[in-house]
Symmetry: C2
Subunit: 345 residues, 2 copies
Amino acid sequence: MPMDKLVAEVLAGNRRALARLLTQVENERPEVLPRLTALFPHTGRAHIIGITGAPGTGKSSLVNALAKRLRAQQQTVAIIAVDPTSPFSGGAILGDRIRMVELAGDAGVFIRSMATRGSLGGLARATRDMVRVLDAAGFDVVLVETVGAGQNEVDIARTAQTTLVVEAPGLGDEVQAIKAGILEIADILVVNKADRPGALQTVRSLKMMVETGHPAARERFAAHHGRLLPVPALPAGDEVSLWQPPVLQTVATENTGLDDLLAAIAQHRQFWHSGSRVTQLQERYIEIELYERLQQALMQRFVQALPPELVSATLQQIRARRLDPQSAIEQLLNQVETHGYPSSR
Amino acid sequence: MPMDKLVAEVLAGNRRALARLLTQVENERPEVLPRLTALFPHTGRAHIIGITGAPGTGKSSLVNALAKRLRAQQQTVAIIAVDPTSPFSGGAILGDRIRMVELAGDAGVFIRSMATRGSLGGLARATRDMVRVLDAAGFDVVLVETVGAGQNEVDIARTAQTTLVVEAPGLGDEVQAIKAGILEIADILVVNKADRPGALQTVRSLKMMVETGHPAARERFAAHHGRLLPVPALPAGDEVSLWQPPVLQTVATENTGLDDLLAAIAQHRQFWHSGSRVTQLQERYIEIELYERLQQALMQRFVQALPPELVSATLQQIRARRLDPQSAIEQLLNQVETHGYPSSR
């Protein structure tokens, strides 16, 4: 089969083609699927770094500062800013403009903002696919910036190899990440705006938490969720040392602390590429992705097979409390099974 | 069929039985399903109020103050505090203790905290079922408190008839809800800690947003997500006026502003029970619930039919980039379809 023109252009480094393909991914266009398949063998080379934190921690400035440093090291950088803000704010577009000015004209940087439209599950899926496209397009580093706000960030963090959780002192609450439940996903903890009062206290709190509760955070995260698919148990294997997330201080707007941060990122990258635990973790991420995609595919087929009149009669019965939701789905499953799925997929 | 003893006890107002059933719901025990079915016809009487907001807005104090006021009006109150904080914090247990002291000894109040364990999707489902149990148990009002942090709150808000989004001045960011993307779910906006500097500015920002962008927020939310199941289009019907979320100020710790808040809640409740749009919205919520439950049931059956060796071979092929995830699920679907599902459900 001859290679798709758009795919060939993306692989050749054509930026206009890249932007077009990313838009197709974001819009979940069906023609994107064979293109992602064609690009997949070219992925796996980029270092994917997630940056997440509460609003006000200065994570966009940190992303900018990191991008500039990486460029100074001759690395090409792609930035995906995922901003699940309300449709009122238009935050994504504004963020884009500010960044554009700062990093403008550098052909080694590619910036893309995504606003949420539709489901957040769709957003995580689209982000994962966009990261793959940018990886295949040959960027050395892909920075994925998200607002730290729970499940969505956990989902997006799964696409990253190294996840930075950004805090800042004096946000009214001692440590934002604990409240948001995103501390578990941190490979590196960054206290940004470290020239502000209270910085040392924030550092101390984070260090204490890392020391007391964190050592096997990522594994705990995995155990927490249980296996999703029937995977045979892996051999116990050789024990490797676990990653202990360092707590670093930065002032992104003044480029302070960035050398240490880059060093920690490099160390974590090395950790990621060594040891059997990490292999297990990678496999686990793939398992989660397969699970999510299967769920979507199964639902699509089932919904196509449902007669609309049956659905609307069921909804009415539930509203009238003559039927409860659990019994309702048993009826719907029986119905579709008796009459069969539509033959084609 | 004779009525299940636990169900009969819950309906008779036995608190110990209620607590036991709620624990079964939280742990997703299979014996809970017939019990929920038996309780379902007894639901639909309670007024369900969701309270959500960023950490630091004082929403727990607001919940307490509201509960006390409602008790003074002779209404029985159940509180579910959903606290998706990190396993490090133990926030749920602590919150429980503080509340217990304040509302202790009042038989007209029932308090239950849930910490996240496992999937957040599971949490939303468990919350929905717990609200139903409390509704069937005869509470006049069920207060559901969540930390405002994205998709999870949107999911939980779907169980509420009236959703309060709580803001506070001086949290470092002008309006927290915009960042978290939860403004759309607000029926009533509350600026708590309104005695702090900056309160009027927060009120002004929220009012402006409500006036410029919000009027049909809930409908926009619905349209946004599209239909999930094949439901025949409803007749255009008579137009009813839409709900415009009011912006109120409170100081919960001093019981200031609570009369206005209770009045707004009562107004919204009246709105909820009138007009065809609201009926459509209720139907929409049921549709979402059915969709989620179907998804879960379909996945369960499919996963049971997957041979473990096939899954592990597939994971390895993807890791080696010899197979992409999308093609992988097509293979898995084909495989299960050819060999069939296990016969029993």
